[in-house]
């Protein structure tokens, strides 16, 4: 299968090829995920919109110098994230937070590590005009898309009108909603296949739900409560520490709290935490085993776990069992 970057280059030259993309319709989800995805009524999922959104996702014309697309950081080959501890944008500029995994975000409630976007439609445009990500004003992005007759035709077919800021958001959000991960060994085990998990992974699941108490935040089909917690990650000198959710709410109690990410595909999508400070799953488990890093707003659930080496290994085995199939709805 060609890489995302090669697909992006093809799309830039042979736009007519897009019309031959076939999309699974309606949006199908793999084992382990709910059939119901909270899609806004004013932006229902359609195959045409998803195809358009996919084209835009891979198109670097949405960046100021034409070198960065959404897929540059959210690489499909890397679980729709990248390998950098913090996002690297236009001109090699480094951000302050890890590129989130764009997996199963259609089930999300709030978006970005600090939850500042209330919908995918709000979220998808922000990286475009972020000066350290894609650095292009959204209205300029719209102008560029409008200048391409093949885009104009696709927007008309998919959204019934010319390219606009709103239409851009709708198409991109629709594509992102179609990025789903499921059918992991864990999903098969929960569905009733008792042989789907190895004995070590089964022990890890028991720990996940019990002594290690991971399920306190990582619960449900998407293994996230979609809420914000301070685990003590990234404590700086107090002056420069990332405020996290507090930057959005203004509440001191939210200082240093970040959104619980999904654990799907976690084994292949390091480094970890909102600042990419933990390299491996073992590092993550050590961090939690120590009870996180003390600070004034440390979540009350963060307690030392006193895990044995075997228990830690079992947890890693379970986390690896959360890797399944990742698709974006295209065939």
């Amino acid at each position: 299968m060609p890489s995302a970057k090669s697909i992006a280059s093809v799309l830039g030259v042979g736009g007519v090829l897009l019309t031959t993309f076939a999309w699974a319709a309606p949006l199908e989800v793999p084992l382990g995920l709910d059939a119901y995805m909270p899609i806004p009524a004013d932006n229902p999922w359609t195959a045409e919109k998803a195809a358009l959104g996919r084209r835009l996702f891979f198109d670097p014309i949405l960046s100021e110098d034409g070198t960065v697309s959404c897929a540059t950081c959210h690489d499909p080959q890397l679980g729709f994230t990248d390998r950098e501890p913090v996002a690297v944008g236009i001109g090699g500029q480094r951000g302050t937070r890890r590129t989130p995994r764009l997996i199963n975000r259609g089930y999300g409630r709030l978006f970005f590590w600090d939850g500042r976007a209330a919908s995918l439609e709000q979220q998808v445009l922000k990286p475009i005009d972020n000066p350290i990500e894609m650095a292009l004003r959204v209205e300029d992005a719209v102008d560029r898309v409008q200048a391409d007759p093949t885009y104009v035709e696709e927007f008309q077919r998919a959204l019934g009108g010319r390219p606009s800021e709103e239409a851009l958001a709708m198409a991109l959000a629709t594509y992102v909603r179609g990025i789903v991960s499921g059918d992991s060994p864990y999903d098969r085990y929960v569905a009733g296949d008792r042989s789907a998990l190895s004995p070590s992974a089964r022990n890890g699941l028991e720990l996940f739900r019990g002594k290690a108490a991971c399920v306190v935040c990582h619960l449900g089909p998407n293994l996230t409560d979609e809420e914000f917690h301070n685990t003590g990650v990234g404590l700086g000198d107090g002056e420069t520490a990332d405020l996290g959710r507090a930057k959005v709410t203004g509440r001191e109690a939210d200082r240093g709290a970040f959104k619980t990410p999904t654990l799907r595909e976690v084994a292949s999508t390091g480094p970890y935490m909102h600042d990419g400070s933990l390299e491996t799953l073992e590092d993550v488990i050590e961090f939690y085993d120590e009870g996180g890093k003390p600070n004034a707003n440390l979540d009350v659930e963060m307690q030392p776990l006193e895990l044995s080496d075997t228990e830690k290994a079992d947890l890693v085995a379970f986390l690896k069992a959360l890797s399944g199939s990742v698709t974006d709805g295209s065939e």
Binding site: I39, V190, G210, G220, P221, V300, E306
Partner: protein, 584 residues
């Protein structure tokens, strides 16, 4: 049947122009055999239920009162039983939950045997310990699928479709620990109606409509009231549901067109007390179950040998209660509105015994089973489950309002674990997995197993005495007998103290001075309390209290016992002719 039952309740539909048209509300089944775990058949002939004596699934002929077993347990299936059930559109097949030999609920289907016929062997449709609690709610109109509630080990509830001919289940929607209390298919089978919290963290519920393919969800009935138990009406598309929007719990109906509500909800029957909707027949008769009675807190004066209400001039409706170490405050668990099939809503309250001031405790737990004061009176230990998929015991700090888990067993049910404080408040004793006696020093995080019972036995009610830290606990053995044992902390050795002559051990408590044990036993005759000398040599019965509930404790001064008593009964009622005008 009492006079009350003989009088039909007549309700006028609250609709202009319908003066003179009346719906009839009346009981159809009362008595000790009633339970409300089943549903009426669409043709209105049968009502499914669980036969209390055998645990079998049964049906009652609503015309004649005759009953027929649908399942037949073998001797090897002792301990297994039927639970929720629902009829297929053909009024013959029934999908039901079954507590199986592995200790979880699976989903089965069978059909009503002909008169004189042996019950048919059921077919298992879904069996998965990961979703170990299932509640079948409705069949699709074509009978091809069973709309089922799954409750998973991670405390996630799921709305799922299970093929009635067997096959893979399809989860439509995952919800948190606030599971839907009732679900139903729309008449065309393209949507599912269910109730759920109106917003995150709220107690009140709204009614939602979910497309069967998961493509869309809308809020059908909303508002500040508590709206739940939705059932679809096929005579004219709409939803009946329970609501307290009038100030009392009643049955309402909302018309639906093109998957959207039309007009305002209409009252069908009001002031029904504690009830839950069971089903709507093809003819439009609405079946509902009512719970009558309840329990209140009572006190037993050990010197006078008499029972009385705990508070002289006030009935405290409660499931469990215990008095603070300083004797000033009662902490108790009370039922709340919003009747449910298996487990009612509960809340925790404090009541000042002098003055009578009370306040609710904002304990953020999903289920409250029991409570224990800490010896210093600054905390309350709640037994149950939290909103984060944990079952066990949780310590609630009265000053800070913070709740933290202190004893968690991933394999326990929502009832939590049996736990108690040491008299000095430094330790917690609890039972893990029925076989391990655990000690937790509250200043540390680790638990230590101090005793492990053998296979086939069960450990119960660990309680540490104020004298010499002797630990009393029950051990239910393979022969069905229960022995109370004592563990000496200095040696770690346990010895038998006495064996119950009969019954099961349902509670154990040391007197505050460690001088005697309060033993609670349960049998078919009900609960009994006994005073047992600390050497186990004498066992003296306490005066009977009718309908005593489990969980008696000593008052802090050791002069009385606190418990809850009361009886609940269930009845099945109907609302008839509610849609006569609506049908036209």
């Amino acid at each position: 049947m009492t006079l009350r039952h003989m009088l039909a309740i007549v309700i006028v539909l609250a609709t202009p122009g319908l003066a003179g048209e009346k719906a009839v509300v009346r009981p159809v089944w009362t008595g000790s055999e009633v339970n409300t775990l089943g549903a009426p058949s669409p043709d209105g002939r049968w009502l499914s239920y669980v036969d209390a004596k055998t645990g079998n699934l049964a049906v009652r002929d609503l015309r004649s009162g005759a009953t027929r077993m649908v399942t037949r347990k073998e001797a090897s299936e002792r301990g297994q039983y039927a639970y929720f059930s629902v009829f297929a559109p053909d009024s013959e097949q029934i999908a039901f939950a079954w507590f199986n030999e592995e200790g979880f609920y699976d989903l089965r289907i069978s059909s009503i045997p002909k008169p004189g016929e042996v019950p048919h062997a059921p077919t298992v449709l879904y069996s998965n310990p990961e979703a170990g609690f299932v509640q079948p709610c409705a069949f699709s109109p074509d009978g091809g699928e069973v709309l089922t509630l799954f409750f998973r080990k991670d405390n996630i509830s799921q709305i799922a479709l299970v093929p009635s001919a067997g096959g893979n289940a399809k989860p439509l929607r995952s919800l948190n620990w606030i599971y839907p209390k009732r679900m139903d298919f729309s008449a065309d089978g393209e949507s599912v109606v269910y109730d759920n919290a109106s917003q995150s963290g709220a107690y009140e519920r709204d009614v939602f409509l979910l497309a069967r393919d998961g493509s869309q969800e809308t809020r059908l009935v909303a508002g500040p009231a508590n709206e739940l138990f939705p059932l679809w009406t096929r005579q004219r598309d709409g939803v009946v549901f329970s609501s307290d929007r009038s100030g009392e719990a009643g049955v309402w109906w909302q018309a639906i067109e093109n998957n959207a509500p039309t007009g305002d909800p209409r009252l069908l029957a009001d002031a029904l007390g504690r009830f839950l909707l069971l089903g709507v027949t093809d003819s439009g008769t609405i079946y509902f179950g009512r719970r009558q009675g309840g329990s209140e807190l009572v006190r037993y004066d050990l010197a006078r040998g008499k029972w009385s209400p705990l508070v002289a001039d006030r009935q405290i409706a409660a499931i469990r209660g215990t008095i603070s170490p300083d004797g000033s405050t009662l902490a108790y668990i009370a039922p709340v509105a919003g009747e449910n099939y298996g487990v009612e809503g509960r809340m925790a309250r404090l009541y000042a015994l002098a003055g009578g001031a009370s306040k609710d405790l904002p304990v953020r737990l999903a289920h409250l089973e029991d409570l224990v004061w800490s010896p210093d009176g600054t905390k309350v230990l709640f037994i149950g489950s939290d909103r984060r998929a944990r079952n066990g015991a949780f310590l609630y700090d009265l000053a800070s309002g913070v709740t933290r888990p202190v004893a968690i067993d991933p394999n326990a049910g929502i009832e939590g674990v049996d736990a108690s404080f040491s008299p000095d408040g430094k330790r917690l004793w609890w039972v893990r997995g029925d076989h391990e006696l655990m000690r937790r020093e509250l200043s540390e995080r680790d638990d230590e197993a101090v005793f492990e019972s053998t296979a086939g036995t069960r450990l119960l009610h660990p309680r540490e005495s104020a004298r010499n830290q002797l630990l009393a606990f029950g051990e239910e053995r393979a022969n069905g007998k229960t022995t109370v044992r004592l563990r000496d902390p200095s040696t770690g050795i346990s010895r038998d103290l006495f064996t119950l002559p009969s019954g099961k051990l349902s509670g154990l408590a040391w007197a505050p001075d460690g001088g005697e044990l309060l033993v609670e036993t349960s049998s078919s005759a009900g609960l009994r309390l006994w005073r047992v000398a600390r050497d186990g040599q004498s066992m003296k019965a306490i005066a009977r209290m009718e309908h005593l509930r489990a969980g008696a404790s000593f008052a802090p001064d050791g002069k009385s016992l606190i418990s809850a008593a009361g009886v609940e009964s269930e009845e099945v009622w109907v609302i008839e002719d509610a849609f006569r005008e609506i049908h036209r």
